[in-house]
Amino acid sequence: MIPPAAHRVLAVFALVVCAFSVAPVLVIVAESFTATDYVVFPPPSLSFKWYGEFLKRAEFVDSFLVSAIVAFGASLVATALGAAASLALVRHDFFGRRALQQLFLAPLSLPGLIFGLALLQFLARYGMPRNIATITLAHVIITMPFAIRFITVALLGIDRNVELCAQSLGASRWRTFRYITFPLIRPGLAASLVFAFIISFDEVAASLFLSSPNATTLPVRIFTYIDQNYDPLVTAVSSLLVFAALFAIAILERTFGVGRLFGLR
């Protein structure tokens, strides 16, 4: 439906836009190997010194650990609770089902900044602390829509008769889930875990309001650092986030395909 000349123009355009799309990330990774003491692109000479600097900065290493713990906890809890909720929403029909679905998807439409502000004022009002646990809870809510979506899609994809078969042969509800449903939705659960982990690890806006001297996530640490300083240290820290994302993308591409994850193929 497109003539060859236009095809070629489009191809060049696509190439340029792809470059535009990945440019900021490439620039950061390249800059993180600079040997200079200040930001200059392209870097005149290369070294690992800013990665060494990162390891010397206790506050960045701390934040890296906080982010890892939060992301691990949030993805696990969101996937577990999301799986339970999806089972109820897909396999049962009851009063208020649609309203509940809307509620669980609502965090997608609410800007993270406002959720963070609301949670901050709520915690202060009831005298609750801001710590790793409250950040994790916030991230459970932010990642739950993704968990429920992925697991719902997985549940809708299995043949209901297989479960009914197991039950008619005398398996209890739990045994049916353990030996039939669970193995069949495992790809959905894995997608939910990986995706929730990435979303949580990258989240800035809500965490900005919930971070405190007790617990500051890595993206928040980067944000407050950039606000005050401009040196290559943050490029090294950011590159670590990029490498983590690349690792996750590799896993996702192997198991599902990035395109299919978003409904394209």
Partner: protein, 299 residues
């Protein structure tokens, strides 16, 4: 209702084991967390937005419309709202102009090219916004890529950082995947026989595109534009880092009021106004096309 049904079942069949309301048990943990840590905090936010504030005593729990009146009558705050909407509008336009041709190319590219483009366009979604925005600082900032390019070309070096243009470039970069996804899904849904039929009836390629392909892709275009608009109007990191200290939009204003000036009631009122703006956009979207903000991301 479900409970009542189970109760009558049990009454009529006394021999049967009592059945637990399974959906309730499965839903309880997620529902509890959502009610306590999502619904309730939003309630607190709305309540606080009607409270007064004093620098000495903090939040004063009286009912007042003062915060809303201040936002909607002070020219300074109205300008911030207007600037936010203009930023979101311009970002949507730029994203459409660079995103639509990519989505179109995806329909004709070979399988290999498609896989690469999808990977390159979508995978930045999995890298933190903060990292992608910081990349723009290095591209546009002092001694950055643009600066070096200008020097190499012997041009007078100008640093375009801290301008609306920089914010739009950063936002377009971050939000491009959402638009491409929306448009590509609706282009994929077009039956290839339809443009072929138009061509066989004598329409040239441009006419086929203008009269057949583009109108059929409109639902995706509108969905994509509205997603980008609502995400851009509530974006925080990009305007905060690329806009500079004087470039205030609603989100950076809320941040400043809440965390630097500590005026929580005013920040809450501003947050409610921002949510209403985003909600209005979503309302238009759901009116125009069925489904929520991220529907295109999943299906």
């Amino acid at each position: 209702m479900r409970l009542a049904a189970t109760a009558t079942e049990q009454a009529s069949l006394p021999s049967r084991r009592p059945r637990l309301p399974v959906p309730l048990l499965l839903l309880a943990p997620a529902l509890a967390i959502f009610l306590v840590f999502f619904v309730l905090p939003l309630g607190v936010l709305v309540v606080n937005s009607f409270h007064d504030y004093s620098r000495l005593t903090g939040i004063i729990p009286t009912f007042t419309l003062k915060n809303y009146v201040r936002i909607l009558s002070d020219g300074f705050y109205l300008e911030i709202i207007f600037r936010t909407l203009r930023l979101a509008f311009l970002t949507s336009c730029v994203t459409l102009i660079i995103g639509y041709p990519i989505a179109l190319y995806l329909t004709v590219a070979s399988a290999r090219q498609r896989a690469w483009i999808i990977l390159l366009i979508l995978s930045p979604l999995l890298v933190s916004v903060i990292v992608r925005t910081f990349g723009w600082l290095i591209i546009l900032g002092p001694n950055g890529l643009v600066h070096s390019l200008f020097l190499a070309l012997g041009l007078q070096a100008s640093v375009p950082l801290h301008s609306e243009g920089a914010v739009i470039a950063g936002l377009a970069n971050v939000l491009l995947p959402f638009l491409v996804l929306a448009v590509a899904t609706s282009l994929q849904a077009i039956d290839p026989a339809v443009p072929l039929a138009a061509a066989s009836l004598g329409a040239g390629p441009w006419r086929v595109f203008r009269l057949v392909v583009f109108p059929l892709s409109l639902p995706g275009v509108i969905a994509g534009l509205l997603i980008v608009f609502s995400l851009a109007s509530s974006s925080f990191v990009t305007p905060a880092l690329l806009g500079g200290a004087d470039y205030k939009v609603m989100s950076t204003m809320i941040y400043q009021q809440a965390l630097i000036l500590q005026n929580w009631p005013f920040a809450a009122a501003f947050a409610v106004v921002l949510v209403l703006v985003v909600f209005l956009v979503l309302l238009v979207q759901t009116r125009l096309i069925e489904g929520g903000r991220y529907r295109v991301v999943f299906h």
